[in-house]
């Protein structure tokens, strides 16, 4: 039952460690081409082989992890940083005009298919990691706003919140002091899930060429480059594909495990 937590944490830690390590050391240079040694299968040249320009795949995966994680981290940060305060404000003014404004704004963003709009944004403002971050981040805002509002609403009915109001504390003050710590566990869980979705989204954007630009390697573009060569060198597609799958799987398992760990209701059933 704790297996998902351990496995998820281990996978996520591995990806993080590889990304961190890439700043200090990589087995090869990700910009150095070596056409003579191109498309070598794993083991023959480097641990994971080489790509169609003869670059070391392991090095590219490591640097690519860095890009994926940075994009996802900032995007989820934007979503949390803006979404959670909006959700808390909506819950504090339940039924008021502020609540209506925030939640209908949310609905508006939800109404657009996120990847299509992300493509639109990068197409208008030019491709690149920064624009991908903004595009993914915007679509994380309503998710966090909804989770925060939904979790905060029942808390506002609790008597300890009434007691705080009797103590003369403002709604903003109560939201920060009493509501936020009590919904933090939900937000952490949602954060890991959104993190995995953001990594997928980043891979999707760079697959269509709108994410991080060459020569910076990215998992999505590695997949796209491998597309025509799948029959000749399947490892070109398998390696970045597996990297994406394992990262997303790890984060999802971590989120599931954290939810079991942090939600006292689920914990009680277990014991």
């Amino acid at each position: 039952m704790r297996l998902s937590l351990i496995l998820g944490a281990a996978l996520s830690a591995l990806v993080l460690a590889l990304a961190a390590l890439s700043y200090l050391w990589t087995p090869g240079d990700v910009t150095a081409m070596d056409i003579a040694n191109r498309m070598k299968p794993p083991g023959a040249a480097g641990l994971l082989g080489t790509d169609h320009f003869g670059r070391d795949m392991l090095s590219m995966i490591m640097v690519g992890a860095r890009v994926s994680i940075a994009v996802a981290l900032v995007a989820v940060g934007i979503g949390m940083g803006l979404g959670v305060p909006l959700g808390l404000a909506a819950a504090a003014r339940r039924g008021g005009w502020l609540d209506e404004l925030i939640m209908r704004g949310n609905d508006l963003i939800f109404a657009f298919p996120s990847l299509v709009i992300a493509i639109l944004i990068t197409a208008v403002f030019g491709p690149g990691a920064i624009n991908a971050i903004i595009a993914i981040g915007i679509f994380n805002i309503p998710v966090f706003a909804r989770v925060a509002r939904g979790a905060a609403l029942p808390l506002w009915q609790r008597e300890f919140i009434l007691a705080a109001r009797v103590a003369g504390k403002s709604r903003a003050h109560i939201s920060v002091e009493h509501i936020l710590p009590n919904i933090a566990n939900l937000l952490v869980v949602q954060g890991t899930i959104q993190f995995s979705l953001a990594i997928l989204a980043e891979a999707g954007l760079s697959y269509v060429g709108l994410g991080a630009q060459p020569p910076l390697p990215s998992w999505g573009r590695m997949l796209a480059d491998a597309q025509t060569l799948v029959a000749v060198a399947p490892h070109l597609a398998l390696v970045p594909g597996l990297a994406i799958i394992l990262t997303v799987l790890g984060l999802n398992l971590l989120g599931d495990g954290l939810r079991d760990l942090l939600d006292p209701r689920l914990r009680r059933v277990r014991t």
Partner: protein, 525 residues
């Protein structure tokens, strides 16, 4: 011949002993009350009989229902026993019914589950049983949904589902605790009548000794998972043998030694207060707003202890919140010490503090006691800090009967009664002029309740407390107040000196309330 015979029942849940050597039997047509305080194992005894125990439960001993040993029976046998041979009524009727099915469909489902009745026969039986429990088709047709019914009507539906197969044994777990006192009387009458008509055995679980004395033939007193005393109800209540039963009996009839009140000047003035709740929006426009507080006027003098009684939905909670400044008024005004509470002035607000009903929900689980009880300091511009603050926290905790070292603990380390003491400490820390006690002892066991009421009396003696005591429990209000207001449908229908209102009630509603309240017979010395 007994319907249910429990011999030497012991139960552990995840290795922790819950019941120890419980033995009791219930005859046909007999009403047996299981009583005791929370954690005494009375509900677990009932769940053992139904075999609806939580995971990890390991019962041993014998439970025989009509000579079938339930502990040896397989799941298929149990399923046919539940509902057919034994029925159960739960405490909270709203959660015991499926909100998206009509009451008729839910009763008919029980019938079709346990007999070979055709759809038409089930319909027929369903209508008969609903009439039997007092839900006549012209008033409450079977096509209604649970949310369209009152609490008492919902409990009648639950009872109908439990008795429709004419079970041999009916188990009722606190069947009236969630109901108003007038409704409680009707439900108890109904249960008694069904027992007489069908000759079933009734096991009623209740913490309320007054209910026991009114209904039960025999009483089983439990404590820490053991039966401490058993016997005919009248005899046990009149001459309790075991010290624990004696303590329960005394706590239930507890007399509070309230010091004489010295009313001096008006402290709280409520003048024609009106509070409307907007009705939910409809497709076109809105329905008329619901008036929760309707032109309520009263005055509370400094040093006085005022009671506010009424059934659920009478508007007493709304009025309490309005006094706290948490709800805006549509008309009228509420003044504390001559200042309007609607002005939201911190110094006015600091003069009123509150103790809520739920000892579990009133505290942020993530803060320590010291931080919890100093929360009202937010209202004071010159709140003490540092050592003076900790000293005051210690002093407050000691004044409510706890220790100064409790300040560093988290709230989950305390029992319900201790939490209510902490709630009182929080309310007292700013030395407010007025404290509102909103059902402050309703969720507590009788012995703990007696202690909290004594604490209130002590505080009155030591520091001349003024409070407004809001409760549905007439017996408690009678103990701890000088004057009382009776509220019904948002209006105050009667007010006066407590003793007078309780002995010679004027208004028909007050008379009905008093008549419906079950009371313990006077103790025989």
């Amino acid at each position: 011949m007994s319907v249910l015979q429990i011999t030497g029942l012991s139960l552990t849940i995840a290795g922790r002993p819950v019941l120890r050597d419980v033995s009791l039997d219930i005859g046909a047509g007999e009403i047996v009350a299981l009583t005791g305080e929370s954690g005494s194992g009375k509900s677990m005894t009932a769940f053992s009989v139904m075999q609806l125990l939580p995971e990890g439960a390991a019962p041993s001993g014998h439970i025989e229902l009509d000579e079938i040993d339930i502990l040896q029976a397989d799941e298929a046998t149990l399923c046919s026993l539940r509902g057919q041979r034994m029925g159960m009524v739960f405490q909270e009727p709203m959660t015991a019914l499926n909100p998206v099915q009509t009451i008729g469909a839910q009763v008919a489902e029980v019938i079709r589950l346990h007999s070979n009745a055709t759809r038409g026969e089930a319909q027929q039986q369903m209508q008969e049983v609903l009439i039997r429990v007092g839900l006549t088709p012209d008033q409450v047709p079977p096509s209604r949904y649970p949310h369209e019914l009152s609490g008492g009507q919902r409990q009648r539906v639950v009872i109908a589902m439990a008795v429709v197969m004419r079970p041999r044994l009916l188990i009722a777990d606190e069947p009236t605790t969630a109901l108003d006192v007038t409704t409680q009387a009707q439900i108890l009458d109904l249960l008694q009548q069904l027992v007489t008509e069908d000759g079933m055995g009734l096991m009623i679980i209740t913490h309320d000794l007054a209910v026991v004395s009114q209904l039960a033939d025999r009483i089983v007193v439990m404590r820490h998972g053991e039966v401490v005393e058993t016997g005919p109800a009248a005899q046990v209540l009149a001459h309790p043998q075991h010290p624990y039963t004696q303590m329960l009996r005394e706590a239930a009839a507890h007399q509070v030694d309230l010091p004489q009140a010295e009313a001096t000047e008006p402290l709280l003035v409520v003048d024609k207060a009106v509070r409307d709740y907007p009705a939910p929006a409809r497709m076109f426009g809105r329905a008329a707003p619901k008036r929760a507080v309707d032109h309520v006027s009263f005055t509370l003098e400094r040093g006085e202890r005022l009671g506010l009684v009424g059934e659920s939905g009478s508007g007493k909670s709304t009025l309490t919140r309005a006094i706290l400044g948490l709800e805006p008024l549509q008309a009228g005004r509420i003044e504390i010490d001559g200042r309007n509470v609607a002005d939201n002035d911190p110094t006015t607000r600091a003069k009123v503090q509150v103790v809520f009903q739920d000892p579990y929900g009133s505290f942020n689980p993530r803060h320590r006691v010291a931080r919890l009880i100093t929360e009202p300091f937010h209202l004071l511009p010159d709140a003490p800090t540092g050592a003076a603050r900790s000293a005051l926290v210690g002093e407050m905790l000691e004044s409510v009967g706890l220790s100064a070292t409790d300040a560093d603990k988290y709230i989950h380390e305390f029992s319900g009664g201790q939490r209510q003491r902490i709630a009182i400490a929080r309310a007292l820390i700013t030395r407010p002029d007025l404290i509102l006690l909103d059902e402050a002892v309703s969720a507590l066991d009788v012995s703990v309740r007696a202690q909290i009421l004594d604490l209130l009396a002590d505080l009155c003696r030591d520091s001349g407390l003024t409070y407004l005591f809001v409760s549905h429990d007439l017996a408690v209000v009678r103990e701890v107040t000088d004057r009382v207001l009776v509220m019904k449908s948002g209006q105050i229908v009667e007010q006066g000196v407590t003793e007078q209102v309780f002995t010679v009630p004027d208004h028909p509603y007050t008379q009905a309330l008093l008549a419906a309240s079950p009371s313990l017979p006077e103790a025989v010395a």
